[in-house]
Structure formats: C-alpha cells, structure tokens
C-alpha cells in the first residue's frame, strides 16, 4: 500500500480521536451549563472564566480519588468493563465522513478513516456490541443493583436495535448504498435525507436516545431504584471512563444523525463557494458546518434530558415493541412502494 495513504489515515485517526475526546470533555460542561440554564440557575462558573476549566478540574478530581475495588472474584473483568465501554464508543468514528475531499500538498485527502462498502452495517454492528462494556462491568461488580442495571441496559439495547435497523433500511432504500461517503455525497445542496425520511428520522432519533442510555431512557442508571446503576461500585478514573464513554457516545451518535439525515458536511451554497472561492475553502467550511450540526444534536440530547421525565420500564418496552417497530415496518413498506411507483 502507498505509504502516504497510511500517513494520511493515521493523521486523520489521531485528529478524530483528539476531537472526540475534546468534544466529550466539553460536553460534560455543556450538560451542566444547559441543565442550569433550563432550571434557571447559573451552573459551574468558578473554575476559569465562566467555568471553562471545569472539565479539567473534574478530570483532576477523578484522578486523585481513591481506587476502590469491591470484593469480587472477577478482578480482571471488573477492570475490563470501563475499558471496553470506551473502546466501543470510539470505534464508530472510523467510517464517519468528516468532510469532502481536500486537495493538499498536491494530492487528494479523503477526510475519512475508512471508506468501506458496508459502512452503515459497521455502525449498526458496533452499536449492537456497545452494551458489552456495561454488562461485563455490571456483572463483575458483584452487586445486585449493578447486575439489574446491566440487565436493563442489555434488554433495552436489544429492543431498540430492531426499530433502529428497520428505520435505517428505509434510508437504505432511498440511498441505494451503504457507504457513508456516498450517502454524504448524495445529500449535496438541500437534498437532506430527513426531508425524504421524516418518520424514519424520528424513529432513529428515539432509538439513539435508548442506545446511548440517555434520558428519558436512562433506566440503567435510575438513581431512585438502582443507586448508581452499573457504575455503583466504580470509583476514580474507572468511573470516569464510563462517564466519558457516555459523552463520547453522545458525540458519535450526534455525528451519525447529522451524516445520515442532515446532509453531513453539505450546506446550501456549497457549490457557489467552491466556484467563487476554492474547492478547499468550501470543504473546510463544510467541516465546520458538520460540527455545528453535531453540536446542535448534542444540545437536543441535553435539552430532552432536562425536559422529559424518565420512562418506567414497562413503558419503555411497550414503546419499543408495540409502537416503534410497527411504525418502522410501516415506514419501510411505504418507502418501498413509493420508490417502486416513482421508478
């Protein structure tokens, strides 16, 4: 293989990793600030100007905490849980198209770590195994509350995965491809998939909330019933990893929504910018547009969390199995019929 390609990809992977970490870090601050704003408070404002150093202070605190270990026969799995949660949260970013092709140093650089033919399936596969970190950690904690939390997370993940997959099949019928790059390219201008698949988008969004274990579906860490949920027995940086993985997941899932349904890096007037300025300038603006979209969806996640109360467990299951799956199937059939008629 060409050496320059390997260097390009390595640089892209490192940058994406750094940005994911940075976004996850500041998502913790954003969460507290938005919660404060919605509840008419000020939020953290002591560390640095307007609380800008708060994530660093939190990280430092987690590092300095005592490393507590419960009396469990599975010491290795106990340590392995948070590590796995973090790894699986970061793996999805491999197939994300972060921007169109850049022409730098006399060659084309594709702003994507791997453009595989089955990108969409890859995302679904990584999401489906994402619950292992929580399950293994919860079981190895040797605590009944943790175990219950892990069970809840697993059953929720399995239930909502089906509706998520079905809503993505509707999208797949429209795009005719599973490559994330081509899906992004097809949405140039204002041809965003959300206008063609509004119901599919809605189902996908709801399922994303469930898959990332966020409110109103955060039953896995329901404090009133389960103390801290799966991270009850965790302390110090191991707990930090679980919390951090949640925010990394938040960022990645916002990125997936932006790329699949909201036109990725495309924005109205992109072709105009490419003609009048330069292709590179238009593409770099595109990267910032993508990040603006991602930030908006992170905001939506937080907005929902601080607005809606938590679902009860049976309500969660009823919504997943009796509402979302039939709706997703209906959406699929309607999409297929419309495509067949307009062909």
């Amino acid at each position: 293989m060409d050496k320059t390609i390997i260097i390009d990809k390595a640089v892209i992977i490192v940058i994406v990793f750094a940005i994911t970490m940075l976004m996850a870090m500041y998502a913790t601050l954003a969460e507290r600030k938005i919660a404060a704003w919605i509840q008419d408070r000020l939020g953290p404002n002591r560390a640095g100007k307007g609380g800008i150093l708060q994530p660093l202070a939190d990280g430092l605190k987690l590092f300095a905490k005592e490393e507590y270990e419960p009396n469990t026969p599975n010491k290795f799995l106990f340590k392995f849980g948070p590590f796995l949660a973090m790894t699986l949260a970061l793996m999805t970013s491999a197939v994300m198209p972060w921007g169109d092709t850049l022409h730098l140093f006399g060659r084309d650089i594709i702003l994507q770590a791997a453009d595989i033919n089955v990108g969409l399936l890859y995302i679904l596969a990584v999401l489906s195994v994402g619950v292992y970190g929580i399950m293994i950690g919860a079981w190895a904690s040797n605590n009944k509350y943790s175990l219950m939390s892990g069970m809840r997370a697993a059953s929720q993940m399995i239930s909502y995965e089906i509706a998520m997959g079905l809503s993505l099949i509707g999208l797949l019928l429209m795009t005719q491809t599973m490559s994330m790059r081509e899906i992004a390219l097809q949405q140039s201008g204002m041809n965003w998939n959300v206008f063609y698949q509004p119901v599919g988008f809605l189902i996908f969004l709801i399922c994303s909330f469930a898959e990332t274990n966020r409110a109103p579906f955060d039953l896995a860490e329901c404090e009133q019933e389960l103390i801290g949920g799966f991270h009850t027995e965790y302390s110090s940086m191991k707990m930090g990893f679980y919390l951090f993985a949640e925010y990394a997941n938040l960022f990645i899932s916002s990125a997936i929504i932006s790329v699949l349904y909201f036109g990725a890096y495309n924005y109205p007037g992109m072709s105009w910018a490419a003609e009048n300025w330069s292709a590179n300038a238009a593409n770099i603006i595109g990267i910032f547009v993508l990040f603006a979209k991602i930030c908006f969806f992170i905001f939506v996640y937080m907005w929902v969390r601080w607005t809606l109360p938590r679902f009860r467990y049976d309500q969660l299951m009823n919504l997943g199995w009796k509402s979302l799956i039939p709706l997703a199937l209906l959406n699929l059939v309607v999409t297929a019929v419309v495509i067949l008629l307009t062909k």
Binding site: N117, V118, A125, Y132, M135, W139
Partner: protein, 171 residues
Amino acid sequence: MIDILFYILSTITLGSAALTLLSKNPIHSALWLVVSFFSLAGHYILLNSQFLGMVHIMVYSGAIMILMLFTIMLMNLNISNEVQKPFVTKLVATVAFCLMGLIILSVVMRGTEIYELQYTTHGKDFQSVQVLGQVLLNDYVLPFEMVAVLLLLAMIGAVLISKKDKTEKTA
C-alpha cells in the same frame, strides 16, 4: 501479510473456542465464545465478504450472545448446583456430537462445487450487498423464503412457550 493475519486470527478463534469449553464459570465461557465469534467475523472479512462479517457481528455477538449472557447472569449458575447427568445421557450426547461432526466434515470435503458457480467469474463485485441480494432473491428465492418462514415459526413457537397460561392468571 494475509497469511500472518490468518494465522493470528485462527489462533484466537481456536484458543477462545477451547477456553469456552474449558472455563468452569459459565459467564467466562460465554465471553470466550464472544471473542471466538469476533475472530470468525475477522475470517469473513479476510475472505473479502464484508457483509457477512458485519452481519455476523450484529447477529451473533450483538444479539444472540447478549441474550445468552443476559440469561446466564440472571440465572446465577454455579458449579455447585450443576446437575450431574446420568452416564447414558453423556454417551448419547457424545455419539450425537460425533455424527454431527461427521456431517459437517463431509459437507466441507464435498463442497467444492460452489466455486464453479458463475458468480466468481461474473466480473462484478461479488462481495457487494447488491450482488448478494440479486443472487438470494433471483436464483435462491425459494430456500431464502423457506428460511424466513422457519425463523418466523421458531419465533412464534418461542412466544407461545413463554406466554403465561391464561387460566393461571385468573386463579
């Protein structure tokens, strides 16, 4: 390069499969099985069938094994309350396993004709989902639908068995 990858993957597959059988703790067994499934997906990708690899991870590691772990974790299985099976059961299980192994072996040994199908020389990207879909729904539509009906039957059967008796509820 690919040879080295194949040997590494095969070591992981066989090693984790062996550990699945040798682990005393049922949860450790299940976790080793997950590792084994992941390395099998790696084999599929080495054979250039990305679709099969991804679906394998999704279905086996992502759904079946999570449900299996779920059940084992809830049942709280221990070595102490494991039921010792009688000798006849063990004998029958061994014989059944050997017969099954013989069938699989003969299928693998005699399954060379598959390479002579037209699809490998078709000039198309045979690993793509498009070609796979055309093959499944044009040439093999009957077996494909049969499998679908079989799965549906299994699902309905599972629901029927797990459904609580109505008379029990009123009593």
